[in-house]
Amino acid sequence: MSNDLVIGMAGAGGDGIVSAGESLINAVAREGYYAILTKSFGPQIRGGESSCRLRVATEPVRSSGDTLDLAIALSWDDFLKFGAELPVGGRTTLVFESDSGLSPQDLSVAGVRPAETVAVPIAGLSKQATGAERSKNAVVMGLLSTWLGVSGERIVAGIRRKLGKKGDDVVAANERAFAAGAAYAAEHPLVRSRKLEAPLGAASGKEAPLKVLADGNEMSAAGAIFAGCEFFGGYPITPSSEIMHLLNGEIWKYGGSLLQAEDEIAGIGAVVGASFAGKKALTATSGPGMSLKTEMLGLATIAELPLVCVNVQRGGPSTGIPTKSEQSDLFQAAFSAHGDAPRPVLAPASVAESFVTTVEAFEIAETYQTPVIILSDQEIAQRKETFDPLDTSRLKVVSRRVPSEGELEHYARFRITESGVSPISHPGMAKGNYLASGIEHNESGAPTAGGEMHERMVAKRTRKLDPLKHERRYFSIEGDGGAPLALIAWGSIAGIAREALDRAAADGLRVKLLVPRLLYPVAEQVYRDFFTGVRAGLVVEQSYQGQLYRLIRMYVDVPAGLRSFAKPGSNPILASEITERLLGLSAELQRQRQNEVEPQE
């Protein structure tokens, strides 16, 4: 019995492998398991190869795992195209389409002998059950239902919901194919059982409590609705478009509106306008769009207009690799604008955190009157993940500070206050009239070219963000508090670092992990505190330059042994690699210690 399984499946575009993965995650989520589903496609829009990996476990999972426990290849060629994304290892049970005519020897994976190799006539079973090969994915679901021991009922109910529109015949055919798969599996049990332990609490006999099942883009959109967002302006771009799609279905219901603009500049331009008009407003994009939004972000900074901008990172630079994840837009997020224009940058480290981070981003934007950038990434944005319903009562829904009657008497929009935050009016509010501008201005908003006023205004705009650096809630610290070894990771990589932390602790290493959700401004004191007692460590990132490592160095003196462990996008970073490196660092520290104790002669 397993309590944590990783299943990888691949086939041709039409094989419906991804839809099978979606049905499965739905079913296991409803059973009370925790799960993560990631999808990956070839470069074609339609057709070509497609794949997914599903991790199911009885306890919360933090990454999509590494080596597969169960691999299902509807086509071996297509399977191989996903390379390191679907890694087969010595513990893998490899299931493949027997109609392909391949024998287990043909399934060569460099340097690996799978635990077990199982040929199944998947297409044949479909044809037998339905008269056509079209329902291969239902056969696969049937196989998995039996082998994993997951309730077939739930899966079938899911199939019904999904295919209902296509008519009773289609539903019935798929049910038959599912049954054929389930029956076949029952007759051909796996040598190495892949049965799942019952989910936690299942013994109670009660229905499992409902879990949220969503991807990061959905949670960004939902977070915006929760936070009171009333306007979205943006332009489609992979892998962020779904935020716009979802909001387009929802936002009108709340009296809000949405503009699919002619380009990213206009998209964020409209957001700046909506914010000026007093509304909470959002835009979302990916790298190329961020590059185009640069000027408007600078405008929002100097005009002190709140807005939230999600960047779902993909492989860069330029068009780069649109469908794969990377964490290489951090420098840009912090520094793309010309002039002294600091602005907060946040990053969620899980699907659930996409919700939380979006709500926090609006809180920050509105409180400090600033654009806020959320660095999501393709991995988080597009993977489905389960989690227990969030306690949303601790989230703050905040609106900007409008001027009081008294303040409107001699209203100065950009009043230089101690905190740096000035009350903000908006069109429609009597006596609040002012001139917003990208030109440097004095307290009342009139243009100025004076150096002294400029200095005071830049100082105000910078100072107002200081409190953020002391909000410990944006930082999660785990592990051994007094550890000499440290890990820092962010975004989707943080989940892997968390697993590495557990493994390293299990290996007897003294390690701690910092996952910052606030990346900029750099919270000097938080890092300094975290570094107390730390002698070596790794900043783990999915970029070539190790951007967070460099960013921290700008503001904090880091321990001499802190290194960057960075790889560019779509090259998976494995928990095992991290642990290995930690072991190396530990050995190095011991050598140093030895040198200290036994002086060289």
Binding site: R30, L213, G233, K253, G269, F276, A277, P389
Partner: protein, 294 residues
């Protein structure tokens, strides 16, 4: 526009701010400011219910000289910002203004989209056929052959035709004016503001410092012809396009085109949609329930 309800008691002065314009003495934009103020007084909305957006340029300084909520934004992006404002709060009167470069060079990509969305905005371009603020380079409406600091040997490209473009984009209201006829200018601006939908007014507003001779007020007065005097029928779009072709050679003022039955605006359609869908809303704080695995 003769019979105007002035019961609100607001005059042009109420729309002018305390900020002293820093335009060159004799700049055409002074007259535009005056005409806009008069038009606004004609319409009579309280200044705080007006949002006045511009880009960057001499002309784009204009919002700061009014008492409206002003937004002197960045070069070429006034229209997207204005659309966001209007969608966020359709009750506002939203004015947009700027230069020929701001509107038809760097901002040119936004014009067709603002028009095809048909938000209820009024867009006023102060067309001086030159880049004033940056000291005299070619603008997209500069006549072919014009030598400037950026075209030492004369320009070798045809000018843009704002009137024809905007008509081709399907604008519901298209007019032209000049501060050489202040009353006429105030009238078309007021009519543009009152038009329910996207309205465009091209103002021939001379740059006295860098503009060429033929673009000055004196010349305007000599060549100006009102469209009314030509018996032009402003409901005839093709005729309007034909007249618009004369941009750069003739100076027609007045209304080129006014759609007889204005179509629904984006902001109105958005409101309808909001009303229709409101009953389907889950309370915001319960939005996560939509994502429960059931």
């Amino acid at each position: 526009m003769t019979a105007i309800n002035r019961a609100h008691g607001l005059t042009a002065k109420d729309y002018k701010s305390a900020l002293k314009p820093i335009w060159c003495p004799g700049c055409g934009d002074f007259g535009v400011l005056q005409s806009i103020s008069r038009a606004l007084a004609g319409v009579g909305r309280a200044p705080h219910e007006i949002a006045f957006v511009s880009g960057i340029g001499c002309s784009s300084r204009i919002p700061g000289y009014t008492t409206a909520y002003g937004f002197n934004s960045v070069h070429g992006r006034a229209l997207p910002i204005a659309q966001g404002i209007k969608l966020a709060n359709p009750d506002l009167l939203v004015l947009v203004a700027g230069g020929d470069g701001d509107g038809f060079s760097i901002g040119g990509g936004h014009v067709p989209h603002a028009i095809r969305r048909n938000l209820d905005l009024t867009y006023i371009v102060m067309d001086n056929q030159i880049y004033g603020l940056t000291k005299g380079q070619l603008s997209p409406t500069s006549p072919k052959g014009l030598p400037t600091v950026s075209s030492s040997y004369g320009s070798i490209e045809d000018p843009v035709n704002p009137l024809l473009y905007v008509l081709a984009y399907g604008a519901g209201f298209v007019a032209q004016g000049t501060p050489a006829d202040m009353a006429g200018l105030a009238d078309v601006i007021e009519e543009a503001i009152r038009f329910p939908g996207f309205a465009f007014v091209n103002v021939q507003s001379p740059c006295i410092t860098f503009g060429h001779e033929d673009s000055q007020l004196k010349h305007h007065k000599e060549i100006l012809q009102t469209l009314a005097s030509l018996n032009h029928d402003p409901s005839n779009r093709l005729a309007a396009m034909d007249l618009a072709q004369e941009y750069g050679t003739k100076l027609y003022t007045g209304v080129f085109y006014r759609r007889p039955e204005p179509s629904a605006t984006y902001d109105a359609l958005a409101r309808e949609r909001q009303k229709e869908l409101a009953p389907k809303a889950l309370p915001r704080e319960r939005i996560l329930e939509r994502f429960l695995a059931k």
